[in-house]
Subunit: 301 residues, 4 copies
């Protein structure tokens, strides 16, 4: 049986683009990490070392910087669509491009109660993300847009239980009618199209995720994720699917009885590892196909 | 259009199991990180918060520890197969189980030239990995085994060039006829079956990967990866496919001319980001299907 | 010449204490990382392996949890003072105790515009810190309190230059009249006493640091740090000294000229390493002596 | 009371220098992380923003690269001495220089049983370190050399107990007559002079540390550290002092009794946090003074 080259892609990962808008005295900042991955007619590069079809990853990096000036950043989805579209349209051997963008959040430093014009402080662990895939399709290409967030760390100190679960020979866990529920949420949602007010949509989805986490009386993280995901899809017809990944960051109640103290849900040990990992996808029946949208650069990791 | 639950899985991630074999005075150590992920009939947990089908992730953790005693660790592939098989066979609602194991390497501390009986020192950044998937299929289940390694950091100080590449408007990179080639390799290979001498196979694949990296006169990392992958498949009929992911860890030659010094490939700046990321798969034509083998716990990340 | 035991200390590092206040429906959360280090009569533990004087680090951990209930957390300075005072007063062999506390910030999740009663979201990279040292001194001990913050990431997009510097044989840097200035600030200030409104003081210092970073027209990071530090000391008589450590997180302007684009301070590459590291202390002449205050657990690292 | 500038220093941190020796076909690699910190007459830079005395950190970085060519790397202690001596001797305002170097270890990739001429694989977590301090003193300066290692992860599966310790109200720990002892060792030793065969000395100290960890029947980590440190000082008259910092990386025995299994020291949970942190210094009575040797760049952290 012959040995053959199968899936392959290459690109420049983690280009750190900072774009300052200084058209007025009141500057704006956009702080991005951009990764590109190209697929196409690259067999010769592998099989014979012939690089004639290979656009250097260094050129891809240059393009990320140049587009931040030529096109501007705008919403990260627009910026990623422009880059992915360019690689597919303008670089002959490329038939598919993935562009991932992370955006770090800044807010203005307040001076005497007012946001200063050109000084910023990083806010939040949380990162806004997008993954855009464009494939060659006639003149303009066809694109899929996934938006998301990660490292959104949330905790509720009550309103969470875990009871009535399956017990096997290895089960020692006690049922819990009132526990801390905490996670560092990753959410990624796929839009049905590309004609979206990205920034407004992001804010709305983020708000819904937080609100649902807060208001759902949780029998398990599974239930909370479902409620979060389905609320997002109910609120926005233009979202086809959402995937949620939530480590259950365990907070173990500390036994203070040896010290003559009770502990009615007040003192906890926040543990690092292991952690539960709960993941689910919620989709709209009959939504447009995902195509290669989820085959992000991470596909080979 | 209805909103429906789609793919979902859950498990315990990063359980740190250390197993000491002390049957003789000469102890052995096995040091593992184990992650489990289960799929099956878990819709009720999401939709109505009913946990009756949900085996706690805490029980999955307990099982990892108990199996380290009951079954022993052996090769990590055997240990993962035992765990995955157990979840599918013995836990009613489970129809598919993924078990990922990382193994950290230790060697004996040498005292007066001899390896001491019970003292060990961690060796290498590199991690040996396995990802086992078992699905319900009649009495025993059907299994896929992926083995691998990651964080294998290698560098060659000559024997690498990058020339003749595609140039576009954004290309400024100079051609290089002699450069440093360095990467932190992740390799994962899928076996055609489960009747394999895992430890011996791992050692052979690792040796081939290193040797090919060394001996291939590289026109690009793509070519090196292809040669590494195809050499592995040539050497072992029982491997169906191999995936390689290689960040191109750039070493930029430092311009010493301003200081009146030449620099013929001697002094380099090792850069962190961005980096090229080159990924490819090499497979055997007509090999057995991968099924869900690559749908590891990371699928939702 | 005899070989002798010199400085030594031991303790429990990175105990993760989460304290929920649930006295009313509106919960409060305090999220801490606590490290203890004890000094005293511990020579025998080293020299002969006699542990009779050694309070286990496990007991120190238990004490951190128990005090979170018995005494409550309050401001982290008070909590650390209580712990350090306890170790010196109540554990015979202990003559000096260091307690370090990091506090992670949370804010309420907003639901329909109102902060929810028991759901929180982590906010900011930034960590509030304290390092308390208590030494045996008569009945009650003598204490020093250092408060601080770290990982406060700030950036100004103009108002920073670097010109007129010393040039040697190895200097190639061009003068910059307008550059990005960015850092991830660590600040630690020592109070002259222990009768301080800790929370209010922390907020005031943080505000001053941010404002000074914003308003100082900077000729160099050194100047900015001095202005930040001296402004803090001017504002609060009860602060004896402040130390500032500021990595100069370089943002390099990208040369877009090869692509026919100008770049008037708009597109930057945010580099990881190397970075400048600028550090200074500002103190009040004649302030009380620091004693062992700065000999934090890190002293041996 | 006047507000005054106190201690201050600045430099370039984490310059990643890779030096290839290619004088013969059989290349050598030296892989370093270099940090410099300068003290001296830099008050004006702080107080008035006058940079006339400030050698840019960029120039310091350039010097690290240039010296790797001009002088070569040799042993890292020699390289650091050359750099520190240069800054003090040749840069007018500098009165003290610290240079820290980390060295990453590589070994040759074996091809057909022989080490290949120009291909290397990173070996070990462990890092070899040096911290050199040079102060202005007459024509040549006076220097102190600290050498060390960090991230040396060692474990013994028996030969360690912890009994007879002090018990207080918060003690719940059971005595252990046979436990796992594991740590990630940081060791730093100060030489009495600078006329040392650095490489040979490093190898000897490393060997002694490992051997003592192995052979000492440990009543506590304190005892093990003392035995390690004093053995080093006994073996080498040219070492004045050694500091050891050892996190007690807890391995908790897993209770398998609920599953009908005994666990005689075989299955452990390797925990992340909290950890004990045991630190001690061993010195030679009457050894030369340490001066500012330990005031490394970390002094302000």
């Amino acid at each position: 049986m012959a040995i053959v080259l199968s899936d392959n892609q290459y690109g420049k990962a983690e280009t750190r683009v900072v774009r300052i808008y200084r058209d007025t005295e009141r500057h704006e900042i956009r702080d991005l990490k951009v990764s590109t991955a190209l697929r196409g007619d690259f067999a010769a590069a592998h099989l014979s070392g012939d690089q004639a079809n290979v656009l250097p990853t260094d050129s891809q990096k240059n393009t990320c910087y140049a587009y931040a000036k030529e096109r501007g950043v705008g919403e990260i989805e627009d910026y990623a669509l422009a880059l992915a579209g360019h690689f597919v349209a303008d670089i002959g051997p490329v038939t598919r491009a993935h562009v991932d963008v992370d955006e770090y959040r800044w807010e203005r430093v307040s001076v005497a109660g007012t946001g200063q014009a050109h000084t910023f402080v990083r806010t939040g662990h949380e990162v806004r993300t997008t993954s855009v895939t464009t494939v060659e399709a006639g003149a303009v290409g066809e694109s899929w847009v996934i938006s998301g967030l990660r490292d959104l760390i949330v905790l509720k100190s009550t309103g969470s239980s875990f009871t009535g679960f399956l017990k096997d020979r290895y089960t020692t866990l006690a049922e819990a009618t009132d526990r801390i529920l905490a996670t560092s949420l990753t959410a990624r949602w796929r839009y049905a199209g590309t004609d979206v007010a990205w920034g407004e949509a992001f804010s709305q989805v983020r708000r819904i995720l937080l609100e649902q986490f807060a208001v759902v009386e949780s029998n398990a993280l599974q239930q909370t994720l479902w409620e979060m995901g389905s609320a997002v899809l109910k609120a926005r017809d233009d979202i086809a699917e959402i995937r949620l990944s939530a480590p259950n960051k365990h907070h173990f109640i500390v036994d203070l009885a040896p010290f003559g103290l009770d502990n009615p849900g007040e003192v906890f040990h926040a543990d690092d590892r292991p952690y539960g990992l709960i993941q689910c996808a919620v989709r709209r029946d009959g939504a447009p196909d995902a195509g290669p949208a989820w085959d992000a650069p991470a596909a080979f990791a």
